[in-house]
Amino acid sequence: MIHFILLFSRQGKLRLQKWYTTLPDKEKKKIVREIVQIILARHQKTSSFVDWKDLKLVYKRYASLYFCCAIEDQDNELLTLEVVHRYVELLDRYFGNVCELDIIFNFEKAYFILDEFIIGGEVQDTSKRSAVKAIEDSDMLQETVEEYMNKPAF
């Protein structure tokens, strides 16, 4: 099970955080700070795995953004890297050539995509297509509602 996913920039700014275990805010902040420090301090040509407390951190850098997952001891590290990659692919397909700014300005969309892909720390659907379809469908639902709101019936 994935315990949490963090996206942060090279400068250490958090861009997205998703927690699959419930923790108080204070604790979360402490963990984020610690992990960002650990990972940014690592050289580029080192392995993507760090043992951290009783969890394993698996991270990968895409352009200026770090994607980091905390997984349990028995989880497969390589599979987690694939999960991260799949998520990047989904973002890419949704935004079209995704960049850090897309995620900053549409951070709620980034969350929605993640939620369609991973739920409760487990991969929900391994098929890219069905995840994308779910996102598009729910967006459609949203668009129509927004249109409706923008043209109030008065």
């Binding site: 099970m1 958090l14 861009r15 997205l16 955080q17 998703k18 927690w19 699959y20 419930t22 923790l23 108080p24 805010d25 902040k29 050289h43 040509k45 080192t46 392995s47 993507s48 795995f49 760090v50 043992d51 028995q74 497969n76 590290e77 390589l78 599979l79 890297l81 694939e82 900053i104 300005f105 951070f107 709620e108 969350y111 929605f112 939620d115 739920i119 409760g120 487990e122 991969v123 929900q124 659907d125 391994t126 098929s127 069905s130 779910a134 469908d137 729910s138 639902l141 949203q142 509602v145 927004e146 709101m149 923008n150 109030p152 008065f154």
Partner: protein
């Protein structure tokens, strides 16, 4: 209304949306905090408006701010408002915000229950989806309890989109509300075969997660997963399934055998590294579980190692890292296969990535042999030099010591080399591990007698060069080695060549800068040295030299007397007085050496770390008993110790106060000297004029100039370990040559007789003889120490504590009926409690019916009540059948069905698989038994004799061991076996053992399993068992038979064979134990003819046999205790010597309890009778007594149970 709406949308045009906020923050880099606080004020205003669109926009912005680290918990209620919006757009935002910032401490979370329930049942699948997603993040135990049923229903939703989400959320629900697992599990299992691959993989995910924690519960699913594994092409799913198998194989080695082939196929065929890695890992797990007795799997190991080598050689750091990680797992069981890749692993030590280097180090630990130890350590020493000033260097240091000292210095052939390695390591500056090196030096010097002379000379060298080591004591842990050096030089001073020089080195003023505990050892060992020098000189008749050395001591010791460290001060002043006395005697020309040396006579032997614990308590000594009667006045008793303690503390602090600055000290010293000078009775420290030999060439007159070098020099004269490597090589070479010569000689002699196979150049481990014959003294143990392996176990080890727990709950999990599922509805109306139970039973029934039809259509319906139980038994059998035969079973008609259904007797007449079957049976019946027990009890008799032999052997080996162990370790003792089968009756023909199991499906039935063992050489047949029924307890007989008829045992017994049959008894009251008389009649048939024989027995139904191990969660347990309608009773048993762990295991095993919670030496336990009595225990262990407080809904049952327990425990 319309106006409001217009107003709302106009307002919205002026609001900041999320993009504006983000842009704004980016534009206000300098005063971000100020800008944001301004934004938050705006948001607060927006939240006050009625328009939901405005609110949701505000909440969206808040979510962003939350990520930046701002507290938004104050808006929790507004978030709930947005969650409950009817429009999806807003709902989505609301749930997102909730999932980001709600946690168990959020109080308003209770308000969401109904909203979430509404959304879960929304006709719009995306509403449901978004609610599920949110729930997955913030589900609390309360929410889980209230919504479990709703989510469970969603698992069968028409849309796969919802189904897969519901399945995954269910896992979160299980975690928060474990009671939901049972009712939901059948449905979850169904989802494994869902037509939608997404749902299927979700179900695999969840079961995989569950099974990882408690694999035993899921063993029965193995065939299903096996099918999935061989049919699935989805790597994601495959990985999960393979991982699941990895968790299952340790429990069922036969499963492993079955897995090897498909897994190796996958390893060969797959191109996905993640899958390959998972397969390799599982194959390793399988091979570990098979361990010995599987010689033909070396191919699989080879394959794994090869594949891992490819990973390690890969340029991708990730693969390298994982390759090494997996390699270390293989190393544990198959070190030889890994050792051949030593080159590769040594290469990894040079890697830039520290994590990879550390992994490689881990591997080296297991790869050393006598042959390559020196070489490997040499390489590591090179790395130590390179890794100046890093934590990695410390890691290297500990690893070197670990590697060398492992399994009692097994791999060290030359201890001189090891000492010099240790000495070389002392050159490391700033390491934290000085004490480690010191401990090794002490250990080796004490235990390896042959090395003492060398060690002492090296240690003397260290003391001589102490200034290099102790140059910077403040942050230098390495000075710890001086502790060892001083002690070794002192204790083994007879080996010292230049004792004078060493003594002087120890008396240098610089020593006073060392930490106190080291100085103390210095002082103590100076005297030892002094004593041996004194003896030397006296024997040589050099009186002057002897007096001189006394004088030196008297001159130098005062510097230690002034030490701030109490220990040093005390020792130094004692010794100073002693030496002054010696001096007096010397003046009178009295020989003193003998007496002085007598102070340190005798040898200190190493004591094993556990020795103290192993001292047996002498017979008749009760450590708990009062020596004096306790004072009767309770008040004073309470007060006194406190005050004493308090006083002491005060005294301490008072004592510390006078530690004043140097000036003050100097002043006092001066004053004291003055006083001493005036005091005629004070023996002055300055020597008397008669004794002053100024003309003697004393070294102490020469001022010693200390050179403080920050850069450590190569200490002159210090041994270089490298030399030893060379020497060792030469030595080995020589050895080999000699051997070759011998062989050649032999060859010459034998030439012509037969052609010899040339294997001269394969040097095996055993060929290397140690440089000097080394006896490693084993650490001392007290006489008649109790041999036990218990002390190896840490009582606080969570895994150990789980040991019982796991065994117990799992045992019944399959038999247990589905527990009542408490959900919101049932809370409202207690009548509707039943439905969930019904639901989960349904599929079983259906299946069963189906089977029954296949088998036997004419059977009556009256056995329905037994259906569930039978089904479970079948399950276990199916698994076994699946495992035992490689091709899938063809015959669906289990021979068991006949007798089982037709009568109350369950037995298995099938002869062919009897052996195996029996094992399975036991597995089904007595799951409580620990694994090895199963094997044991089957051949109890054999085992007994074996045990005897074993114990004899053990005894023998231990006797040997106490003397000396040659580079090896002692072996461990296995756990005592436990069997729930008790002896029923025995005669020369047959032996019967029995076990009683409660039946949860029926509150008035128990099943008695009897094992019949034919002890004779004759054939036993027509066995018939009859019991004299009592009013309360009756044997269940086939319809139409009278109460006096016996029940035929459905099998015959050839000589030496045993088999098991089951008999069902009905009872009314279970609160008391009962005994039933019975007879077994049988016909003995041999060559001479056949005789009719009888065997009487008494069947004892203990109260414990009416209990069924039932897991209980601590909160439910607490509630039960609080409820207050339980009766209480307690017992106390003295003279318990077994560990608490064993004790609990015993109670669990023999009395069918499960541990609810355990804290230190106190545990709460729970069990339930077949008629639903709750039994709660609180077990407390004292020094060697145990007290048990019990609570039960029936007082008679409780007191009987406790009596039984007392009996069990008093046997311990």
């Amino acid at each position: 209304m319309a106006l409001k709406m217009v107003k709302g949308s106009i307002d919205r045009m002026f609001d900041k949306n999320l993009q504006d906020l983000v842009r704004g923050i980016r534009n206000h880099k300098e005063d971000e905090a100020k800008y944001i606080s301004q934004c938050i004020d705006e948001i607060k205003q927006e939240l006050k408006q009625d328009n939901i669109a405005v609110k949701s926009n505000a909440v969206c912005k808040l979510t962003y701010l939350q990520m930046l680290g701002y507290d938004i918990s104050w808006a929790a209620f507004n978030i709930i408002e947005v969650m409950s919006a009817s429009k999806f757009t807003f709902k989505r935002i609301g749930y997102l915000a909730a999932s980001q910032c709600f946690h168990e401490g959020t109080d308003v979370i209770m308000l969401t229950t109904n909203q979430i329930r509404k959304d879960l049942s929304s006709p719009n699948q995306y509403d449901t989806g978004v609610a599920l997603t949110g729930l997955s993040c913030f589900v609390t135990p309360d929410l889980a309890r209230d919504l479990a049923n709703d989510i469970m229903t969603l698992m069968s939703h028409t849309k796969p989109y919802i189904r897969k989400k519901a399945v995954l959320i269910m896992y979160k629900v299980f975690l928060k509300y474990p009671e939901s697992l049972r009712p939901a599990f059948p449905r979850l299992k169904e989802k494994l075969e869902d037509p939608d691959p997404g749902v299927q993989s979700a179900a695999v995910n969840v079961i995989c997660e569950l099974a990882r924690r408690n694999p035993k519960n899921y063993l029965s699913l193995a065939p299903l997963f096996f099918k999935l594994m061989t049919s699935s092409t989805n790597n994601w799913v495959l990985i999960k399934i393979i991982k699941l198998f990895g968790a299952l194989t340790p429990l069922e080695p036969r499963l492993g055998k079955k897995l090897i082939e498909p897994l190796t196929n996958l390893i060969h065929s797959t191109s996905a590294m993640s899958l390959l890695y998972e397969c390799v890992n599982t194959v390793i797990a399988v091979l570990i579980s098979l361990s010995s007795g599987m010689p033909n799997h070396s191919a699989s190991i080879q394959l794994c190692v090869q594949k891992l080598r490819i990973l390690i050689e890969d340029s991708d750091q990730n693969l390298k890292y994982l390759g090494l990680l997996a390699m270390s797992k293989i190393l544990k069981t198959h070190p030889k296969s890994v050792q051949s890749h030593k080159d590769l692993i040594l290469q990894c030590l040079d890697d830039k990535d520290e994590s990879i280097r550390l992994r490689a180090l881990d591997l080296l630990y297991g790869m050393v042999s006598k042959k390559n130890l020196m070489e490997i350590v040499k390489k590591l020493m090179i790395h130590v030099d390179k890794a100046e000033g890093t934590t990695y260097r410390d890691e290297l240091l500990t690893k070197i010591i670990d590697i060398c000292s492992q399994s009692n210095y097994q791999y060290i052939t030359n201890f001189e080399w090891y000492i010099s390695i240790l000495v070389e390591l002392t050159r490391l500056e700033g390491t934290r591990h000085g004490h480690l090196i010191a401990a090794q030096m002490l250990d080796v010097a004490i235990r390896v007698k042959a090395i003492r002379k060398f060690a002492v000379s090296q240690m003397a060298m260290l003391l001589d060069n102490a200034h290099l080591i102790a140059s910077n004591t403040q942050r230098n842990g390495i000075c710890e080695v001086l502790y060892a050096a001083a002690w070794i030089c002192g204790e083994f001073s007879e080996h010292l060549e230049e004792a004078n020089q060493t003594l002087e080195a120890m008396l240098r003023p610089k020593v006073t800068t060392l930490p106190g505990h080291i100085q103390a050892v210095y002082v103590q060992n100076m005297v030892k040295l002094y004593a041996s020098i004194l003896q030397q000189k006296e024997q040589a008749g050099e009186k002057e030299a002897a007096q001189e050395i006394t004088q030196l001591m008297i001159e130098r010791l005062p510097q230690f007397v002034q030490s701030a460290d109490l220990e040093v001060q005390e020792r130094a002043s004692c010794i100073l007085q002693l030496i002054k006395y010696i001096q007096k005697l010397q003046i009178k020309e009295v020989p003193v050496a003998e007496e002085v040396i007598a102070l340190f006579a005798g040898e200190l032997n190493p004591v094993a770390p556990k020795a103290q614990k192993k001292v047996p308590v002498p017979e008749g000594l009760d450590l708990d008993a009062w020596i004096n009667e306790p004072p009767s006045d309770s008040e004073s008793e309470d007060e006194k110790p406190k005050t004493i303690f308090h006083d002491e503390e005060q005294r301490h602090s008072r004592h510390r106060q006078p530690e004043i600055d140097e000036e003050e000290l100097a002043r006092r010293r001066e004053a004291r000297k003055q006083e001493q000078a005036n005091n005629p009775f004070y023996i002055k420290s300055s020597p008397s004029p008669q004794k002053r030999y100024q003309d003697t060439p004393g070294v102490e007159h020469i001022p010693v100039v200390q050179i403080d070098l920050s850069v450590p020099l190569k200490v002159p004269g210090m041994p270089m370990s490298d030399q030893y490597v060379k020497l060792e090589e030469e030595r080995r070479h020589k050895q080999k040559l000699e051997k070759d010569k011998k062989k050649k000689k032999q060859k010459k002699e034998k030439r012509g007789k037969h052609h010899r196979h040339n294997s001269l150049h394969t040097e095996s481990e055993e060929d290397i003889t140690p440089a000097h014959h080394v006896d490693i003294i084993t650490e001392e143990m007290p006489e008649n120490a109790l041999p036990s392996d218990e002390d190896d176990k840490d009582p606080n080890d969570p895994y150990k504590a789980l040991d019982i727990d796991l065994d117990k709950p799992l045992a019944d999990s399959e038999k247990l009926p589905v527990q009542r599922h408490r959900n919101a509805e049932t809370l409202k109306s207690p009548d509707s409690e039943a439905p969930p139970v019904e639901k989960s039973k349904k599929p079983k029934k259906k299946e069963k019916k189906h089977r029954e039809k296949e088998r036997d259509k004419g059977k009556k319906k009256e056995k329905e009540k037994k259906v569930v139980e039978e089904k479970e038994e079948k399950k276990g059998e199916d698994l076994d059948f699946w495992l035992s035969t490689d091709p899938p079973p063809v015959s669906t008609t289990q021979p068991q069905s006949g007798p089982e259904v037709s009568a109350a007797v369950v037995a298995e007449p099938e002869e062919v698989k009897k052996e195996e079957r029996e094992e399975q049976q036991e597995e089904d019946e007595g799951k409580k038994s620990s694994k090895h027990k199963k094997k044991k009890h089957k051949k109890e008799k054999e085992e007994k004799s074996k045990d005897k032999k074993k114990s004899k052997k053990k005894h023998h080996s231990e006797e040997e061991a106490t003397e000396s162990v040659q580079n090896g370790t002692l072996d461990d003792e296995p756990l005592p076996p436990m069997s729930s089968y008790r002896l029923l009756a025995e005669n020369p023909y047959i032996k019967m053992t029995y076990d009683i199991q409660g039946n949860l499906q029926n509150d008035s039935q128990v099943t008695v399993s009897v094992i019949f063992e034919n002890k004779s050489t004759s054939f036993l047949k027509s066995m018939e068992l009859n019991v004299l029924d009592s009013l309360n307890t009756k044997m269940l007989r086939p319809e139409g038979s009278s109460v006096h008829d016996g029940i035929p045992v459905p099998f015959q017994l050839p000589p030496g064979i045993s088999n098991e049959a089951q008999f069902v008894f009905t009872l009314q009251s279970i609160v008391m134990a009962q005994k039933l008389k019975g007879t077994l009649s049988f016909i003995v048939k041999n060559d001479e003819g056949s005789t009719h024989e009888k065997l009487d027995f008494k069947l004892h139904f203990s109260c414990a046999s009416y209990l069924i191990t039932t897991p209980c969660y601590s909160d439910a347990f607490a509630k039960l205790l609080e409820s207050g309608d339980l009766h209480m009773s307690s017992i106390k048993v003295d003279g318990i010597s077994i560990s608490f762990q064993h004790l609990l295991a015993k109670i669990c095993f023999h009395h069918h309890f499960s541990v609810v919670e355990r804290v230190d030496s106190c545990a709460s336990m729970y069990s339930r009778s077949i008629q639903g009595h709750h039994v709660c225990l609180l077990v407390k262990k004292g020094e060697n007594s145990v007290s048990i407080d019990g609570k039960c809904s029936d007082s008679t049952l409780l007191s009987n149970l406790l009596d039984e327990m007392k009996e069990t425990l008093s046997k311990c």
